[in-house]
Amino acid sequence: MSVLDIARPATDYVAPQKTVAAAAIDARISEIHYGKFLAVRDTNIAIEKNKITGFIGPSGCGKSTVLRSLNRMNDLIPSFRLEGQVQFLGQDIYARNIDPVVVRRHIGMVFQQPNPFSMSIFENVAFGLRLNRYKGDYKQRVEYALRRAGLWDEVKDKLKENGLALSGGQQQRLCIARAIATEPTVLLMDEPCSALDPIATRIIEELMLDLKKDYTVAIVTHNMQQAMRVADTTAFFSVDISRGGRTGFLCEAGDTEQIFHDPKQDLTKRYISGEFS
C-alpha cells in the first residue's frame, strides 16, 4: 500500500544519462547525504535552456533536495553532503574555488511558502539589485520585474506598503518579481503554488509559461496536472528503502508528453495512474 513496497524492485535501476547540448544545468549527482542518511542517489538530470523542467514524485523522494542542490541552497544545512557534479553553464558549482553566494545570484529560487521580506514592495524587488550594487535606474527595473510577474497593476499605487501586507498569491508573485529583477539565468521553484488557491495558482502557471521565453525554469510540484500544464520536460523521482533508509532517485525523465502518456518505467506508470502518491 505504501510507496515503499512498490519502490523496492527498482533498486538498481539507474536512469540513462542523456547529455543535452542546450542544458543550462547539467547535474550528475551520485549521492546526497544528510549526515549519515542517504537521501538521494544516482540522479543525472539536465535542465534545458528556455524550457520548464518539472520534478514530480512521491513525498520524501528528494525532489526538494535535488532542486536545492542545483544552486547550493543546501549548503545552509551543515549535515548536507553531495557527491557528483553540478555543471552550470559549463562550470562545476561544487568545485573548490566556487563561491556559492555568486552561484545563487545567477540561479534564483522561489519557495513553497511565499517569503517576501518585511520591507516595502519596492524594496523587496530592488533587494537583489542593491545587493549587486546595480548602478542603473531602479524604478524602471523594479517596474519591469513587477510587470513580468504580473503584479504591477495590482501594486503600482502602493509600492511603499509592506510586502507582507499582500495576499498569499500576490506575495508569491512578489517573490518571483524579486527573483527575476536581477535577471538570473535559471529560476528554481519548489512547489511555488502549493500554498495558494486555484485562482492564484493559475495566474502563476501562466506567468511561468511567459517567463520561459527569457529564463530557464525548474519546478517541483506535487500536482501532476500542473506538471502536465506547464512542464516541457518532466523528471519523475521515486524512493527505495533497500539501503536502510528511504533513498530517493531519479526514476525517469523525458518529454512531459512521453512521461505522462508513454512512461517507460513501470514505477512511473503506476505513479501516473494514481496508484500511490
Binding site: 521580506f117 545587493l131 517573490c175
Partner: protein, 322 residues
C-alpha cells in the same frame, strides 16, 4: 445556586450537587482572584497617591522650576533636579548605547548559527548570569575593578582628546564613566534576551529567501534579519532603558553624587535614584516633599518609558514577521 437534583434515575449514581462548602469556596476563590487582580491596579494608584500626596506641597511651591534648576540646597530650601534628570538620562542613554551594541551583537551571535546549539546554550547562560549579580556587588566591583582599570585609560583620553566634551575633565574616580559601564553590564542581559526573541521569531523561510537571493551571511544579517527584527530590538532597548533609569545602588556607589551637569564622562554626576538613596534618610519637611517630587519625576519618566516599551512589545508580538 440551586438545589437542582436529577436524582430520580439510577440509584447507583454518585453524582450530587456541589456542597454548600464547595459553593462558598467557589465564591470566595473567584472573589479572591478578582481582588488579587484589582490589587495590582490599586497598588499602583496607592503608590501614586502616597507619593503624589506627599509631593504636593513641593509641586505647588516649585512647580516646573523644579525641573529646570540644578540647585539642591536644603539650607535655603532651594530645590531642583535638572542635574539629576540630566545624570539619569545621560547615564541611561550611554549605558544603553553600549548595551545595545553588545546586547544585539550577542543576540545575533546566539541566533545566527555562529555557535552550535550546545555552546550557544552555555553562552546564553553566561549572559543570563550577568543579570543574576546583585546591584551592590556590581557597585563593589566597580569601585575596586572598574575605577582602577579606567584610571590610566581615562588619563590618556583626557590628555589626548581633552578637546572632546566627553573627555574634557580629568578622571578622579567616582564619575559618569564607571557608572555607565556598570549600568551597561546590568542592562545588557535584558537587551540580549529580548533581541534574541526578536531574532528567533523570524521564520526560517525569511532566512532562506535572503540566502536564495545570493546574500552572504552578513548581508543576510544586516539587510534582512536586523530590519525584520527592528521592532523587537527597539522594544528590548526601551525596556533596557527603563531598567537603567531605575537602577540605584550601583550608581549611588559609583557616580560621585555631585549635582552638576557636564558632558564629561570623567566628571561626577548624580541620578534621581541615587539622590533619593542618599538624601531621603535625612530629609525633613520641605526637602522630603521635594524628594517625593523627585520620586514622581523618576516615576513618570520610568512609567512613560515602560508603557512605551510594553506597547511596543504588544505591537511587535503581533508584527508580521513573514
Amino acid at each position: 445556586m440551586s438545589s437542582t437534583d436529577f436524582k430520580q434515575d439510577s440509584g447507583r449514581s454518585a453524582s450530587r450537587p456541589p456542597t454548600t462548602g464547595d459553593i462558598i469556596a467557589d465564591r470566595v476563590f473567584r472573589g479572591g482572584a478578582y481582588a488579587a487582580g484589582a490589587l495590582v491596579v490599586l497598588l499602583l494608584i496607592y503608590i501614586l497617591w502616597e507619593i503624589g500626596f506627599r509631593a504636593m506641597p513641593a509641586i505647588e511651591r516649585y512647580g516646573f522650576g523644579f525641573l529646570t534648576s540644578a540647585v539642591w540646597d536644603p539650607g535655603q530650601e532651594k530645590f531642583g533636579v535638572l542635574a539629576e534628570i540630566w545624570g539619569t538620562l545621560y547615564s541611561s542613554v550611554l549605558a544603553l548605547v553600549i548595551a545595545a551594541f553588545f546586547g544585539v551583537g550577542v543576540a545575533i551571535f546566539l541566533t545566527q548559527d555562529f555557535l552550535d546549539a550546545r555552546l550557544a546554550q552555555v553562552f546564553r547562560t553566561v549572559i543570563e548570569m550577568l543579570a543574576a549579580i546583585p546591584s551592590v556587588v556590581y557597585g563593589l566591583w566597580g569601585i575596586y575593578v572598574v575605577i582602577p582599570a579606567l584610571r590610566p585609560v581615562a588619563g590618556f583620553l583626557n590628555e589626548t582628546f581633552g578637546w572632546f566634551p566627553m573627555f574634557s575633565s580629568s578622571f578622579s574616580g567616582p564619575s559618569m564613566a564607571p557608572a555607565v559601564i556598570v549600568l551597561a553590564i546590568m542592562v545588557l542581559p535584558t537587551v540580549a534576551a529580548i533581541s534574541q526573541d526578536a531574532f528567533s521569531l523570524i521564520p526560517y523561510k525569511t532566512k532562506e529567501a535572503a540566502f536564495g537571493m545570493g546574500t552572504t551571511r552578513w548581508e543576510a544579517i544586516t539587510k534582512v534579519m536586523i530590519p525584520t527584527a527592528t521592532s523587537g530590538i527597539f522594544a528590548s532597548l526601551v525596556l533596557g532603558f527603563g531598567r537603567a533609569l531605575g537602577e540605584t545602588m550601583a550608581l549611588a556607589m559609583l557616580i560621585g553624587n555631585s549635582n552638576q551637569i557636564s558632558w564629561s564622562l570623567f566628571s561626577p554626576a548624580n541620578t534621581l535614584a541615587s539622590l533619593l538613596a542618599s538624601q531621603f534618610p535625612e530629609a525633613s519637611g520641605i526637602e522630603t516633599q521635594a524628594l517625593m517630587y523627585a520620586a514622581i519625576v523618576l516615576l513618570v519618566i520610568s512609567l512613560a518609558v515602560n508603557v512605551v516599551g510594553t506597547l511596543i512589545m504588544a505591537m511587535s508580538s503581533k508584527q508580521k514577521v513573514g
